[in-house]
Amino acid sequence: MSTKIKQRLNRILLWGLIVVMAFWMLFPFYWAVNSSFKSEGMLAMTPTTFVPRDPDTGTLYFYLRNYEAVFTNQAFLRAIGNSLIVATATTLLSLAIGSFAGFALGKLRYRGKTATLYIILAMTMFPAIAVLTGLYAIITELKIPPLLSMIFTYMLFTLPFTAWVLTAFFRELPTEIFQSAQVDGASPLQTFYLILLPLTAPAMVTTGLLAFIGAWNEYLFALTFTSIAPDARTLPVIIANFPSQFSRQIPFGEIMAGGVVSSIPLVLLVFIFQRRIVAGLTAGAVKG
C-alpha cells in the first residue's frame, strides 16, 4: 500500500517537473507571439496582458497589422531571401567539402592522420571573434560582395563541424563494403561516390540541418560584413536593428512579429527532425 502511494507521489512529482520545464522553455516564445498580436496602444498597457486584449473593452483582440507591416517591409523580405541564399549555399558547400574530408579521415590510411584529426577537432572550437578583424580587412581589401563573404566565412564553423561528424559516420561504416568494392576493381573514389555516399545520406541530412541552423542564426559576421551594405542584411541583423516603417519608438510589435516569422522555420525543423538534430549535436561534441 505504502509503496503504491510512494509510486503515485513520484509520478505526481515527475509530471509537476515536466510541466514546469515545458512552461519555462516555451513561455518566452509564447510571450513573443502574444506581443506580436498587440498594437502599440495594447503594448503600452500597464500591467501588461497575458493575451492580446482590446484596451477599451478588455476583450480578446488580435491585432494583425504587425504581420502586415513585416510582410510589406522591403528590408525584411530581402532579408528572408538573403538568409535563405547564405544558409543554403554554406550548407551545400560544407557538405561537399566536408564529406571529402570525412571520407579521408574516417576510412583512408595515410601519414599524418592523427595530426589532421586534431586540427579539425580544434577548429570546431575556433572562436570567430578572434579572426573578425582579419577577415574584415581581407574582405574590404579584395572587395568581396557581402553575401559571398558570409557564405565563405560561415564555413569557419560549419566546415570543421561537418567534417568531424561525417568522419565519425564514415568510420562506423563496415570496412568490408569498402574492401569488397576495391576487390571488384572500383577505385577508392568510385567506392566513395557509388557506395559510401548513399550510405551516409542520413548523416548528411543531420549535419546539413545543423549547418543550416547555425548559418541561419549567425549574427556577428553578418552584422560586420553588411555594416555598409544594408541590402545584404540577413534576418538576425534585421531583427536586431529593426528598421521601422513609422519610426516612433522601438517597434516591439513588429520586431516580435518578425522574430516569430524568422523562428517558425526552425521550430518546424526541430519538430520534424528532432532525433537527427539531437544525434548530430551530440556526435559533434561527445563522440568521434
Binding site: 515527475l14 509530471w15 517537473l17 515536466i18 520545464m21 519555462w24 522553455m25 516555451l26 518566452p28 516564445f29 510571450w31 506581443s35 500591467p47 501588461t48 567539402i97 566536408g98 571529402f100 574530408a101 571520407f103 579521408a104 579521415l105 583512408l108 595515410y110 572550437m125 575556433f126 572562436p127 571573434i129 578572434a130 579572426v131 573578425l132 578583424t133 582579419g134 577577415l135 574584415y136 580587412a137 574590404t140 565563405f152 566565412t153 569557419l156 566546415l159 577508392p188 556577428l220 552584422l223 560586420t224 538576425p236 531583427i239 536586431a240 516591439f252 520586431i255 516580435m256 522574430g259 524568422s262 523562428s263 521550430v267 538534430i277 539531437v278 549535436l281 551530440t282 561534441a285 561527445v286
Partner: protein, 357 residues
C-alpha cells in the same frame, strides 16, 4: 611484384586522402589561419581603418593600452591642521579624488573600482577601464552561466531520460530555445525585461509585491549581468541537457539494477553511480560551453549595446565604430589567449585524456 602492387595501392590511397583533405584545409587556411596571423600582425600596428595616417608598427603599444592596471592608495583628505576630513552627516572619512591619484604619464589611467582593505582605501586604475570591465564581466558571465546550465542541464537530462508518455515531444520541445536565433531571443527577452509594467517581469514582480514595477533590468548596472545570465541560461540549458542526455544513455542499465539489488536509494544512485560515470561527458560539455560563453556577442550587443561590453562586443565596436583595426586586433588576440587558457585548464583539471575524444 605483388608487394610492389600493394605499395602502389597504399601510395595511391595516401595521395587520394591528401587530395580529398586539400579543399577543407585550403578553406580553413583562407578563413581561419591566414586571418589569425593577420590579426596577430595588426595587433602590433596602429592601423586605423580607412584613414590617411600611414600604418606603423608600434610594438606592444596596443597591449599596453588594453591591459595596463595599477593599484594606488587613496589618501584621506586632510584639513589645514593635517587631520582627516570627516563627513559631518555620515561620520565617514573623506578621500581625495581617485582620478588625481592615478598616473597620467606616459599613459593616462582611469579609475575602474575603489575598495577598502585593512582600513586603507585603494583605487584600481586602468588605461582602458571599458576593456578591463569587459573581461571581468565576460568571465563572470561565463562562470555563472556555465555553472547554472550544468546544474539545470542535469535536471532536464534526467527528466527526459525517464520513461513517460510524450517523451519524444518533450525532447523536441526543449530544442525550441536552442533553435530560435539569438537575435530573436535577445529581442524577446529585452521586451520581457522592459523597465515598467509593460514588461512581463516587472508586472510579475509587482504582482508578487517585489519592487515598484519599474525595475530597470537592462539599464541598472546591478541588474544587467543577472539579466544577461538569465537569458543565456534559458537559451543554452537545452544544449547542455542534450549532451548530458547522450552521456546518460551510455550508462548500462544493469548497473542500476545492481544498485537496486544493493538497496541504494535514488539520491545515492545519483551521487555514487550517475555522476561519476557522467564525468567524461560533463567535462566535454563544460569545455564546449565555457568556450562558447566567453565569446558571447549577440546577446550583449543586441540587449546592452554600448552600455556594457562583453569581450567580443568590445572588439566589434572598436573595429566598426572606432575603426581601430590595430587596437581591436590586440583585443582579439587577448580573447584568443583567454579562451585557450580556459580550454587547456579545463582539459587538465578534469583529467580529460585526448584519446577519449
Amino acid at each position: 611484384m605483388a608487394k610492389r602492387g600493394h605499395g602502389d595501392l597504399a601510395a595511391q590511397e595516401q595521395r587520394l586522402a591528401y587530395g580529398l583533405l586539400a579543399p577543407t584545409f585550403v578553406v580553413l587556411l583562407a578563413i581561419a589561419i591566414y586571418p589569425l596571423f593577420s590579426v596577430f600582425y595588426n595587433s602590433f600596428t596602429n592601423n586605423v581603418f580607412a584613414s590617411a595616417t600611414p600604418t606603423e608598427v608600434v610594438g606592444f603599444e596596443n597591449y599596453r593600452r588594453l591591459l595596463s592596471l595599477t593599484i594606488q592608495v587613496v589618501p584621506p583628505k586632510l584639513d589645514d591642521a593635517g587631520q582627516p576630513v570627516v563627513d559631518g552627516e555620515s561620520g565617514e572619512v573623506k578621500y581625495e579624488s581617485a582620478v588625481s591619484i592615478l598616473p597620467r604619464e606616459p599613459l593616462r589611467f582611469r579609475p575602474v573600482n575603489q575598495f577598502t582593505l585593512f582600513g586603507t582605501r585603494y583605487v584600481l586604475g586602468a588605461t582602458d577601464p571599458a576593456f578591463v570591465l569587459a573581461v571581468w564581466d565576460t568571465v563572470l558571465f561565463g562562470v555563472a552561466t556555465v555553472f547554472l546550465e550544468l546544474a539545470l542541464g542535469i535536471v532536464v537530462a534526467l527528466l527526459v531520460n525517464t520513461n513517460f508518455k510524450g517523451r519524444g515531444l518533450m525532447r523536441a520541445l526543449i530544442l525550441v530555445p536552442w533553435a530560435i536565433p539569438t537575435a530573436v531571443s535577445s529581442q524577446m527577452w529585452a521586451y520581457m525585461l522592459q523597465p515598467n509594467r509593460t514588461g512581463f517581469f516587472n508586472t510579475l514582480f509587482w504582482h508578487l509585491g517585489f519592487g515598484n514595477g519599474e525595475i530597470p533590468f537592462l539599464s541598472d548596472p546591478a541588474w544587467q549581468l543577472p539579466s544577461m545570465i538569465l537569458i543565456d541560461v534559458w537559451k543554452t540549458t537545452p544544449f547542455m541537457a542534450l549532451l548530458l542526455l547522450a552521456g546518460l544513455q551510455l550508462i548500462p542499465a544493469d548497473l542500476y539494477e545492481a544498485a537496486d539489488v544493493d538497496g541504494a536509494g535514488p539520491v545515492r544512485k545519483f551521487f555514487q553511480l550517475t555522476l561519476p560515470l557522467l564525468r567524461g561527458t560533463i567535462a566535454v560539455a563544460l569545455v564546449f560551453r565555457t568556450l562558447d560563453a566567453l565569446r558571447v556577442f549577440d546577446l550583449f550587443q543586441i540587449v546592452l549595446g554600448q552600455a556594457r561590453y562583453s569581450m567580443a562586443s568590445f572588439t566589434y565596436y572598436e573595429l566598426i565604430q572606432n575603426r581601430q583595426m590595430g587596437y581591436s586586433s590586440a583585443s582579439s588576440v587577448v580573447i584568443f589567449v583567454v579562451l585557450s587558457i580556459f580550454a587547456v585548464a579545463y582539459m587538465r583539471g578534469l583529467g580529460v585524456k585526448s584519446d577519449e575524444h
